[in-house]
């Protein structure tokens, strides 16, 4: 077989940047996006979408890249976060933070309960069960017409301006304000995940990913730790779901469908699941390609699919695998 192409690139290409420089560059790009996106012929809403999906994919990667467990059902908790937010704001309390809180709590509780049922499974059996449970929520959203309005989705509501007491931030009408709101939530969540991954608990997860048997015989109760990782991952994917509902002022059952879960996996693998920023890069590539190609042809998915296959074949560590292979340590 010979060397993998990615190994050759790794060896020959000089390390483009060290980790800290990379972090700073990424935050600078994110913070300045509303200024350079229009100049680059795009629009700030695309940036918002990238950040929302980047949060979902980073949350998935907590489980996939750092615990070694593949879920194909994260859209369920993404969708629960979205529905929880939409229904709360529409029917209960017209407040963005309250809506988000309800969405996240609902998503996390559902994940905690379902996690208990599937946590003993491994590999493809685990993945299949996550799809199955995910589809259960999809069909509930689809069928429970009186609450969710079925296939037509929850509309006729919108996100509310943030009332901070002394001032109000109009995230409803200002795209820039909403972008920065989403970015702030993203930053808090991503920082929390990075913090956890550097902790003793985070290292036990990487131990499980590396060698489950060794981890078990070092005194790590593997099932319990995978369950915790699963709940944390689903918690943050629910947060992304609440932002998704706020972004669209709308939610329909497709947010919960299995192909939505697949999108998170594709983004993660595309960007590089062993890199902390891989899912962000993957989300950006996916959505920019989608935005660009879909304006020319409705078969945009075949192009993304072909690109994905090429990446998996030649750069199994994803796009970021090209730059450096050292993960959080």
């Amino acid at each position: 077989m010979g060397e993998r192409l990615s190994d050759v690139v790794n060896r020959t290409a000089p390390r483009l940047m060290d980790k800290r420089t990379g972090d700073i560059l990424i935050w600078l790009l994110l913070l300045s996006a509303p200024f350079w996106l229009p100049a680059a012929g795009s629009y700030v809403e695309l940036g918002t979408r990238v950040v929302v999906f980047a949060l979902a994919a980073t949350a998935l990667n907590f489980l996939l890249g750092y615990t070694g467990v593949l879920s194909f059902g994260h859209a369920a908790y993404f969708g629960l976060g979205a529905y929880g937010t939409a229904l709360t704001i529409k029917f209960l309390v017209a407040s963005t933070p309250v809506g988000m809180l309800v969405g996240v709590v609902v998503g996390a509780i559902a994940a905690a309960i379902i996690g208990l049922m599937i946590i003993r499974l491994r590999g493809v059996y685990f993945a299949m069960c996550t799809i199955a449970f995910g589809q259960v929520f999809y069909f509930i959203a689809f069928q429970w017409f009186s609450l969710t309005n079925g296939d037509d989705g929850v509309s006729a509501w919108h996100r509310m301006p943030l009332d901070l007491g002394f001032t109000t931030i109009d995230i409803l009408n200002s795209s820039n304000a909403f972008y920065y709101f989403v970015l702030a939530v993203f930053a808090a969540c991503v920082a929390a995940m990075a913090f956890l991954l550097r902790s003793p608990f985070g290292r036990t997860l990487q131990a499980i990913r590396e060698n489950e048997r060794r981890a078990r015989f070092l005194g790590i109760p593997v099932d319990a730790h995978i369950w915790m990782s699963w709940v944390i991952s689903c918690f943050f994917v629910s947060v992304a779901g609440t932002l998704f509902a706020l972004m669209n002022n709308f939610v329909d059952p497709r947010a919960m469908r299995w192909d939505q879960s697949g999108t998170f996996v594709i983004m993660t693998v595309l960007g590089g699941m062993r890199s902390f920023w891989g899912p962000l890069i993957g989300s950006a590539i996916y959505l920019v390609l989608q935005d660009y190609i879909s304006s020319h042809t409705e078969n945009w998915m075949s192009f993304i699919g072909a690109f994905f296959v090429l990446i998996v074949l030649f750069f199994p560590r994803g796009v970021l695998g090209l730059i450096g292979r050292k993960a959080v340590s």
Partner: protein, 249 residues
């Protein structure tokens, strides 16, 4: 009180009897070798002690407590650590991280979302000690998967030591090693036994290793107990010679 008492354990896999009515008592501070021809049931016997399998019948008493039905992680918490016949490490983590994880587990920090500066310093110091003891200090920042076989083996043994075990089980610690590497591992085991007074049970094929190190030897053959005694007694035992060399001998 004996540290480990294995009482009449058997393990059946369907109609295959892997271990049949074997008993063993290990005293604190002892270095016990378990030997036997291929397929004698040595590794299965280890797996029963460490909780990889549940015995079909029989009991395992550790430090006066019946641990027969405990999960592997709980046995580790009570002080039983092991290595495997085929090296089990965390290949894509560094040597430092490989040792740090068991040190943190043994310190009760496995669920901590953060470490105080003080605890972090303690953990680093302990990892430094273990690196030194295993002769791995200059390789601390390397990924374990990139190390030579012998160094991976040493890393695995040090990971088990990092747990501060009361009983260490080593499954063929020198398997697949060259002369020099075998010597290093023997020195390491001897130091752990003599200097740290650690109780060790090991499975080994290399008879030089066994007769060098062991206080007592137990011999298994076809899942059954065959003999037990000091190295001198075992060397003279006719049943053992027959099992190893066949009837003609």
């Amino acid at each position: 009180m004996s540290l480990l008492q294995v009482k009449n354990v058997s393990k059946h896999f369907g109609s295959l009897v892997a271990v049949s009515g074997v008993s063993m008592t290990v005293e604190p501070g002892e270095l016990r070798a378990v030997i036997g021809p291929n397929g004698a049931g040595k590794t299965t016997f280890f797996n029963l002690i460490t909780g990889f399998f549940r015995p079909t019948s029989g009991n395992i008493i550790f430090n006066g407590e019946d641990i027969t039905g405990l999960l592997p992680a709980r046995r580790v918490w009570r002080g039983i650590a092991r290595t495997f016949q085929i090296t089990e490490v965390f290949p894509e983590l560094t040597v430092h991280e490989n040792l740090r994880i068991p040190v943190e587990v043994a310190s009760g920090f496995r669920l901590q979302p953060w470490l105080s500066r003080e605890n972090d310093a303690k953990i680093r110091a302990r990892v430094g000690e273990l690196l030194e003891m295993g002769g791995l200090t200059d390789k601390a920042a390397r990924l374990v998967g990139e190390l030579a076989h012998g160094d991976q083996r040493s890393t695995e043994i040090m990971m088990a030591i990092a747990l501060n075990p009361r009983l260490l089980l080593l499954d063929e610690p020198t398997a697949g090693m060259g002369e020099q590497e075998t010597f290093v591992i023997i020195q390491l085991i001897r130091r752990l036994h003599k200097d740290n007074k650690l109780t060790i049970v090991l499975i080994e094929h290399d008879m030089r290793v066994v007769f060098h190190l062991a206080d007592r030897i137990m011999v298994l053959d076809q899942g059954k107990f065959l003999a037990e005694g000091t190295p001198q007694e075992i060397a003279k035992n006719e049943a053992v010679q027959t099992a190893y060399l066949g009837k003609a001998a």
